[in-house]
């Protein structure tokens, strides 16, 4: 029986600052990506999409790993806070996976000549997107709070298997997509230092945006959970 929707972790008083830091870092990343970072010798300015494409890819992975961890947390402890974390992260993950695909498509047109091609990386990413849309759909079809959380948690645990498949698909199968640029196994990033720094700042900015959105969404979900518990009493 659920009695509290309180967080199992100590509350940090950073919430008001998260949005400010995320905005500041986003502005800095925008300036670095559009002005400070040098033009690529081969692709010209088109390559600058990387400063959106890679961070959104990172956030897609991060969000779904958080869904996985939160799902385990719910199945383990049955604390509603973990379910709130899972749904918040899944919604943001779907948003950023959509942006990841759109940014990749914008980059693909001038470099590959097409908006979309049946490439393993693209297909596995689209599959990941559909998988988490299915996760949210499953949540939407369940009315009982505990059943919904448990069903979603099982899917959240199983679906995480797709993340390494998406990342490693370019190594496993013939792909027109370039090999990993930053997270390379047994090697450093294949990027100019200034481009690498800009990418690092972009990733950090997007991560703060994710955390800021996550905190707000968890708060909304916990209010919803509290209302559900209140009507039960």
């Amino acid at each position: 029986m659920i009695e509290t929707t309180a967080s199992p972790f100590p509350q940090l008083r950073l919430r008001p600052w998260l949005g400010i830091v995320a905005t500041a870092l986003s502005l800095l990343a925008m300036w670095m990506g559009l002005v400070w970072a040098p033009t690529d010798a081969v692709q010209g300015d088109v390559y600058r999409v990387i400063y959106v494409h890679v961070p959104t890819a990172w956030l897609a992975y991060l969000a779904f790993v958080v869904v996985f961890l939160a799902s385990i947390g719910w199945l383990w402890s049955r604390r509603p806070w973990f379910d709130a974390l899972a749904v918040a992260s899944a919604e943001i993950g779907v948003l950023f996976t959509g942006l990841f695909i759109v940014a990749g498509s914008i980059w693909a047109k001038p470099t590959w000549g097409v908006w979309w091609t049946w490439d393993p990386r693209l297909v596995t990413t689209a599959v990941m997107f559909v998988m988490y849309v299915g996760y949210l759909l499953l949540r939407g079809l369940s009315t009982d709070f505990e059943r919904r959380a448990t069903r979603a948690a099982v899917v959240g645990v199983i679906a995480v298997v797709d993340i390494p498949i998406v990342h490693l698909s370019v190594l496993w199968m013939n792909s027109v997509h370039q090999l990993p640029t930053v997270a390379r196994i047994g090697a450093g990033p294949a990027l100019d230092a200034s481009m690498g720094l800009t990418l690092g700042v972009s990733v950090l900015a997007f991560t703060f945006v994710y955390v800021a959105l996550l905190v707000e969404r968890i708060d909304i979900e916990r209010h919803r959970q509290a209302r559900v518990l209140e009507t039960r009493r």
Binding site: M128, V130, L137, L138, R147
Partner: protein
């Protein structure tokens, strides 16, 4: 009674139920046969015989057939509330996933052999490596079962289960579908190394999802 014995009991119960009312198996066999027949019409007899096309269509048919059969199996459980009795038994919760997945795997072997034989006969397929093909097909069938059973259990009492299970299962089964299609095509074309590597990937997927299913399904059954 030990856990494997309980799982075997559930599997035996499933197989007896299917023998008494083989509507799931009949639907799966009919569906697979229909798709093999339609394949040569859709692609033309020449293209339908190509290893890539023949194996791809075969595995799509198997995927849908497995979905049909599993949904029928759980429908049967829900119609007479039999699943509540299974869950209420000591250890029933744990045995349900393993028993269902094992029974589905066995039934899919029947569908796979029948569908494969029909493909070979109707499309006049030349098989360069029959042993490798059997190995890949067997592993492919085994790799499908855990994912489909897990998703059926998760969506057991969801009102749109017929739609939700494929929506959840198909994306999760894409890697298995690719591995099974590519491995079968390689075995048909005579590339032993490629067939074995895809077979190994299928075995890895079967293992990962079986372990995940055994670990989390007992907590998910309502």
């Amino acid at each position: 009674m030990s856990a494997p014995q309980r799982a075997l009991l559930i599997a035996a119960r499933e197989l007896f139920a299917e023998r008494a009312h083989p509507d799931g198996l009949a639907a799966a066999l009919t569906f697979t046969g229909m798709l093999v027949l339609l394949e040569s019409l859709a692609f033309g007899p020449g293209r339908a015989r190509e290893p890539d096309v023949a194996s791809g269509v075969f595995w799509i048919a198997i995927l849908f057939a497995a979905m049909l059969m599993t949904q029928r199996s759980f429908d049967r459980e829900l119609e007479d509330d039999a699943i509540d009795a299974v869950i209420a038994l000591p250890g029933g919760r744990d045995a349900l996933f393993a028993g269902k997945a094992f029974a589905l795997g066995l039934l899919m072997v029947i569908v796979g052999v029948a569908g494969g034989a029909l493909s070979i006969f109707l499309l006049d397929l030349e098989i360069a490596l029959p042993g490798h093909l059997a190995f890949v097909v067997l592993l492919g069938l085994v790799a499908l079962a855990p994912v489909i059973v897990v998703n059926n259990v998760v969506a057991l009492r969801v009102r749109a289960r017929v739609a939700v299970v494929p929506i959840l299962s198909f994306p999760m089964l894409v890697p298995q579908l690719i591995a099974a299609s590519q491995g079968s095509a390689a075995a048909l074309a005579g590339d032993a190394a490629v067939a074995l590597s895809w077979g190994a990937l299928l075995a890895a997927f079967a293992f990962v999802y079986a372990v995940l299913g055994l670990t989390i399904v007992p907590a998910a059954i309502e």
